[in-house]
């Protein structure tokens, strides 16, 4: 099962490190990363595989949100189906 992790907010040091470490600790495998900086705005979108994850998706999503609050970014994890449904005919 795959999910999308979105990280947005003001750019600062160590965002990717913190997020990827967080995912690794929960056995979430990163399959694809795309990241851009627009002015001071940081945006990263990760496609991750959560099949081997230690907790279920809704709990992971909650943890991601909390991590975001801790490091001052917005972090969301959502099932990839929501994007496939909304953006593909």
């Amino acid at each position: 099962m795959r999910a999308v992790v979105t990280v947005t907010g003001k750019d600062k040091k160590g965002i990717i490190a913190k997020v990827s470490q967080f995912l690794a600790e929960r056995s979430v495998n990163i399959e694809d990363i795309s990241q851009t900086i627009l002015g001071e705005y940081f945006a990263m979108i990760m496609l991750v595989d959560i099949s081997g994850a230690s907790t279920e998706l809704s709990a992971l999503a909650k943890d991601c949100k909390e991590l975001g609050e801790k490091i001052g970014m917005s972090i969301y994890m959502q099932h990839e189906d929501i994007f496939n449904a909304m953006h593909n005919v």
């Binding site: 947005t8 945006a43 909650k62 917005s74 959502q78 099932h79 449904a85 909304m86």
Partner: protein, 451 residues
């Protein structure tokens, strides 16, 4: 595959534009619960609803977590109670109370179906049932009631229309301490639909499967935001933008509905693609109409803008879901929409204009506070006007007016939460009693004979 832009767009829709799944409503048939006595029936009803819907809140919460889209309300609709209490209608309230208790046990906010379908005639047991409605609404918290008084195929049952005027008055009077909230949980319909997931008019039709999951999507804020990006566009392009946006919103609803039905062991019913406003800023249908170019909702041009909006929403939604149903369109409740509240407070929108708008929107006169001393026959006449619009135009129309006790034009009513607040609006003070007291039926229109 989706692009990064798509991902960020979805996140913005949820975080900034109030995209949500407005309701997951489980429809449950109560036909297997009919017993010899009201007491036994009430017990069976409570047990069935609690067992079929036991996981609805939990499932909605985990789906919301997984897809990252809020699911605001979890609800249940049931078979019209008048049908299952036909043998003991004077005790129908026991079943109403059992349903209210079930709603509280399940932790859902509303349960709909304390209803009667009397569009052609009122049977004796239905007459008795309708008389129980005000008391039942006053002594329960989460139960909603509706009565279908007309249809395109059968005409308008004017005896039922007369009763409903009195029922609204009484429901408000018995809840005078809460601004007449009883009437806010009551709807009079013409052409009621059997798979509507929205309250207060939801009930589970007898033609439905045993247990179904219907989902109502929303997102007026998302549509408004999309239109803000093209302020100079002509109306053809604006309609196209609304259609595209409705498509995306509905796809989210379809995904959640299918998955919810699977997990709840129910049949996937329909997605209702209504734009349902809330009193929150930026979650308003009125503000979409204003974004389209009407200075204040209620002004000239409002009906045209609403007609376009309603139609474009349907077109986008139908493309997005294999099973569209319910009311599907734009809702225009007054007390639940910040733009409507402001227009009503400023005297810019009148009951007459709202009535015109109901010709082209998905439902009818909704959540409108009127003076507590409005005669019952005047309320009946308002219902008759709405029912006539529905009957002739082959669409659902509804009336949910609150004759707020001890309040008059200029006063406010405040129900709190999703039901919102509203100024008391003026009605015409002309006498309609002679028309209403005639009784009988308004015959079905000529274009109903299609066979």
């Amino acid at each position: 595959m989706f692009t990064n832009f798509d991902v960020l767009e979805t996140i913005d829709m949820v975080q900034k534009e109030h995209l949500d799944i407005r309701t997951i409503t489980m429809g449950i048939s109560l036909l297997p619960c009919i017993r010899e006595t009201a007491e036994e029936t009430a017990l069976a009803v409570y047990d069935r609803v609690c067992s079929k819907a036991k996981d609805i809140v939990k499932t909605a919460e985990s789906l919301s977590g997984e897809y990252g889209i809020p699911i605001v309300n979890k609800r249940v609709s049931v078979t019209p109670v008048s049908l299952i209490t036909a043998a003991f209608p004077e005790k129908a309230g026991l079943v109403g109370k059992a349903l209210d208790n079930a709603a509280k046990t399940l932790g859902i906010d509303f349960l709909g179906g304390y209803s009667a379908l009397v569009h052609k005639a009122t049977a004796a047991y239905e007459r008795t049932f309708i008389q129980t409605i005000p008391e039942v609404l006053a002594t329960t918290d989460r139960l909603c009631s509706s009565v279908n008084v007309g249809s395109t195929r059968s005409g308008i049952n004017m005896e039922a229309v007369k009763m409903m005027g009195e029922t609204f008055k009484e429901a408000a009077r018995l809840t005078a301490d809460k601004d007449g909230i009883g009437a806010a949980k009551l709807v009079a319909f013409c052409n009621a639909v059997e798979d509507n997931p929205f309250m207060a008019g939801a009930f589970h039709g007898v033609g439905e499967a045993d247990v179904v999951v219907n989902v109502g999507v929303s997102g007026p804020g998302v549509v408004k935001h999309a239109l803000e990006k093209i302020p100079e566009a002509d109306l053809t392009d604006a309609a196209e933008m609304i259609k595209r946006t409705a498509f995306k919103i509905t796809r989210a609803g379809q995904l959640v509905a299918k998955e919810a039905a699977k997990r709840l062991n129910a049949q996937f019913g329909i997605v209702d693609l209504s734009l349902a406003p809330t009193p929150a800023m930026g979650d308003s249908v009125a503000q979409i109409l204003e974004e389209l170019g009407v200075e204040t909702v209620g002004g000239h041009g409002t009906t045209a803008a609403l007609a376009m909006l309603n139609d474009a929403v349907k077109k986008g939604g139908v493309m997005a879901s294999s099973r569209v149903g319910g009311l599907s369109g734009a809702f225009i409740p007054v007390s639940e929409d910040i733009g409507m509240i402001q227009a009503a407070e400023a005297g810019k929108i009148t009951l007459d204009k709202l009535e015109a708008m109901t010709c082209v929107c998905s439902v009818g006169l909704d959540m409108i506070a009127i003076s507590g001393d409005t005669p019952a026959t005047t309320i009946s006449a308002i219902i008759a006007d709405e029912a006539a619009i529905g009957m002739i135009n082959n669409k659902t129309t509804a009336v949910r007016v609150i004759p707020a006790p001890n309040k008059t034009v200029g006063d406010q009513v405040n129900f709190g939460g999703l039901l919102g607040r509203a100024p008391v609006m003026p009605v015409h003070n002309t006498d309609s009693s002679r028309l209403i007291n005639r009784g009988g039926n308004i015959p079905a229109p000529i274009h109903s004979f299609k066979n």
